[in-house]
């Protein structure tokens, strides 16, 4: 038992600090993805609601592709695709340089693409919960279209789509595990490294598993707080 505790301690003898940095990278990747995913998802939802057929079609093609591809494949496509694309571009420009894409950035882009295509559906169904009168009321007050959207519709939209978005956050948190495959030193990768070196795979993968579980529990507690805060204006039934 003491041996196991030594393995998990912080410092040179144990793997506690490595695993802690892994957790930090996992969480920061998920948090860094959220703003891009939300903004892109909102724009996609607006495009899918627009009166123009071509815009709707373009947005639908995007979601069909990124909801149909496995997340792992999207990650590889972005990681190697950007790398090879940039390399060919520099060669065309006459440089001869080896380019390596930052795996954090590649992971962020790929996860944001997947997240936004799911988030757009969440926003789209939330849009249906906002009565037409809200828009009309906004216009009647003399707000411009953009002001109505930002000041009147968006806050309600966020509140209505909160349950679906909480689900997407939990899925995103789980999907970050895939980034270990392209070499980012996240929780799974650090655990794998510790497991290989110490020959204690069950201990370290078990720890990683439990940390993911704790992260999920903490997020659902936090999300239910946010949900309660968002609902503070509603009458209790």
């Amino acid at each position: 038992m003491d041996d196991l505790l030594t393995l998990l301690s912080f410092g040179d003898a144990g793997w506690g600090d490595e695993i802690a940095t892994g957790v930090f990278i996992t969480v920061s990747l998920a948090i860094a993805t959220i703003p891009f995913g939300l903004v892109l998802g909102f724009l996609l939802a607006l495009a899918k609601r627009s009166e123009d057929q071509s815009l709707r079609l373009a947005a639908n093609i995007y979601t069909t592709i990124f909801r149909g591809l496995p997340e792992l494949l999207t990650l590889f496509l972005v990681y190697y695709g950007v790398q090879i694309g940039l390399q060919q571009l520099t060669q065309m420009l006459g440089f001869d340089a080896y380019i390596e894409v930052n795996s954090f950035a590649a992971g962020m882009i790929a996860l944001a693409m997947v997240f936004s295509s799911y988030a757009s559906e969440a926003f789209l169904s939330a849009f249906q919960g906002i009565p037409q009168g809200q828009y009309e009321g906004g216009y009647a007050l003399g707000l411009s279209k953009r002001q109505t959207m930002v000041l009147v519709i968006a806050p309600q939209l966020l509140r209505l789509s909160l349950p679906a978005l909480s689900n997407l956050w939990l899925i995103l948190l789980k999907d970050t595990a895939l980034v270990s495959v392209i070499g980012l030193a996240d929780l799974v990768r650090q655990a794998g490294m510790a497991a290989r070196i110490t020959k204690e795979p069950f201990l370290f993968f078990g720890i990683a598993f439990l940390i993911y579980l704790v992260l999920a529990i903490l997020s659902s507690i936090g999300l239910s707080r946010i949900d309660a805060y968002a609902k503070r204006g509603e009458a209790s039934r």
């Binding site: 495009a47 627009s50 009166e51 123009d52 057929q53 071509s54 815009l55 709707r56 079609l57 373009a58 947005a59 093609i61 069909t64 592709i65 149909g68 591809l69 496995p70 997340e71 792992l72 494949l73 590889f76 496509l77 190697y80 695709g81 090879i84 939990l170 789980k174 999907d175 970050t176 595990a177 895939l178 270990s180 495959v181 799974v188 655990a191 794998g192 497991a195 204690e200 795979p201 069950f202 201990l203 993968f205 078990g206 990683a208 598993f209 993911y212 579980l213 999920a216 529990i217």
Partner: protein, 276 residues
């Protein structure tokens, strides 16, 4: 009182409203043009590579990979659906001894990444090698294929149990009461009255679960199972040719789209009495 003496000839329909080139319309057309260019260049790229050395060398591997992916998905879903029955029953039970374990099981498997579950089973089993050899189960945990099936079945059983529970709870209570009033026994009520209605509700979530499973099965490639993704990664690591991933993307999109179409047909057929 006015009487019309002559038949009023119908007026011509109003002219179609002119569509101004608003900013949204311009953006839409630009984006569509981008998609069309991307799609056309993809088609051209694939068509020009159909007889390339890469495809000639690896096409049979890709077919093997697709077959492996299908096997993984079908076997895991089948085992998972069997496992989901007792879990769903426990999850909707009122007794704590049944409810709590089922709840914990569902929460744990839905709260952690499939990748971490697969690693824990496949690599973690190595920690118990002597014990597993003693009880004669080592052949099972030594093989990545069995471990993947095991992990995926456990994972999908948790999701399927939630789908099943939600569907059964969505059947109104009056259905139970009405059937009891007719003097039917509980098993017959469940199998003949509740379950058919619940299956209709659960059809769409089940379809989504199958698609999630197809996408999730790509994870098997990380633990050295050569499914479609595994064959793709092997082909890429040997040839460094990016078309490896593009072919994989095309195949995955085709599989998912075909499944979606089949499921839409099935749903329309099974709910045809509800359509007007």
């Amino acid at each position: 009182m006015s009487i019309s003496l002559a038949v009023i000839s119908p007026k011509a329909p109003p002219p179609p409203r002119p569509q101004p080139w608003s900013s949204t319309r311009i953006i839409g057309h630009v984006l569509m043009a981008l998609w069309i260019v991307a799609g056309a260049s993809l088609l051209w790229y694939l068509a020009s590579n159909v007889a390339s050395p890469f495809v000639l060398k690896y096409w049979s591997d890709y077919l093997d990979g697709i077959w492996t992916t299908i096997q993984i998905v079908v076997i895991s879903l089948a085992i998972g659906s069997l496992l989901s029955l007792p879990i769903a029953a426990g999850r909707s039970s009122k007794r704590k001894i049944f409810f709590l374990p089922a709840y914990a099981y569902v929460y744990i498997f839905r709260g952690t990444p499939l990748l971490a579950q697969t690693f824990l089973i496949y690599y973690g089993a190595g920690s118990f090698r002597p014990e597993l050899q003693e009880i004669g189960l080592w052949w099972f945990f030594r093989d990545a294929w069995y471990c993947v099936i095991f992990a995926f079945s456990l994972n999908t059983s948790a999701y399927q149990a939630e789908i099943l529970r939600g569907a059964i709870q969505s059947v109104p209570k009056g259905q139970w009461e009405g059937a009891q009033a007719l003097g039917l026994s509980r098993p017959i009520i469940f199998w003949k009255i509740i379950l058919p209605q619940a299956l209709m509700v659960s059809l769409r979530p089940y379809g989504n679960e199958i698609i999630l499973m197809v996408k999730g099965s790509a994870i098997a490639s990380i633990v050295t199972v050569f499914d479609l993704m595994g064959e793709t990664r092997r082909a890429f690591s040997r040839s460094f040719d990016f078309q490896a991933y593009i072919w994989a993307a095309v195949f995955y999109l085709l599989i998912v789209e075909i499944l979606r179409q089949i499921w839409d047909r099935l749903e329309r057929r099974l709910t045809r009495h509800l359509q007007r």
